[in-house]
Amino acid sequence: MQKLTKEQQDYQNLVNLKKPKPPYIKNIFMAFLVGGLICVIGQGIMNFFVSRGFSIKEAGAPTSATMVFLGAFLTGLGIYDKIGKKAGAGSIIPITGFANSIVSPAMEFKREGYVFGVASKMFVVAGPVLVYGMTSAFIIGLIYYLFKL
């Protein structure tokens, strides 16, 4: 890159100064609120499964599956993305956001067909999540195994 002249630098500084900053506090508050509420819904579902005779540990799996269903369904209806505009990470980090990251691109690319459109675009974000999740779990499992020997 060329070195900027004094005027260009001054201008750049001015631009940086005037550029709107993300409303940090409001964003964090909304992420906390919405993320927290999604987890409260998850807790409700978990308690339901526990009341049906699942142990707390066993209840995790059907709870995740139900939350994934809700996330996928609300994305299909177009509601989840509306929440996402306000909630940022609050709607991205919960497992419902994982479902959203699958359905959203898959719907978008439907016109490219059911194989290279829907089925392959489903994994644009979910793929990397599985790759990194499984690989780190594998490495940790290997370390655990070696330490146990």
Binding site: A61, S64, G76, A89, A99, A106, K110
Partner: protein, 117 residues
Amino acid sequence: MDYVMAFIVGGAICAIGQVLMDATKLSPAHVLVLFVTLGAVLSGLGLYEPLVEIGKAGATIPLTGFGHTLVRGVIEDVDKRGFLGIFTGGLTSAAAGITAAVVFGYLMSLLFNPKSK
């Protein structure tokens, strides 16, 4: 009380994600990958299980909980089956979530069309 703790722990995890996104301009995909990996590492160090005991769904619903589920499964299976458990444990314990994500994700994508924004 479960609900209050789920709200606080889950909310806090999401707030940390929001700070990361605003401060570093990481994309949502990067944050998700980072959180899964982080959950796995914390779980491996034995630090995530205490958080699950405090926050319940507040710790299992965020994607860090997915990393934790994978690692917990691997460790349980290593205890049960030895070396092979490294390969089988993760997907065994995360099976319900992953199958739901693939199947429901696919069906919803077929059923609905994107809403014009």
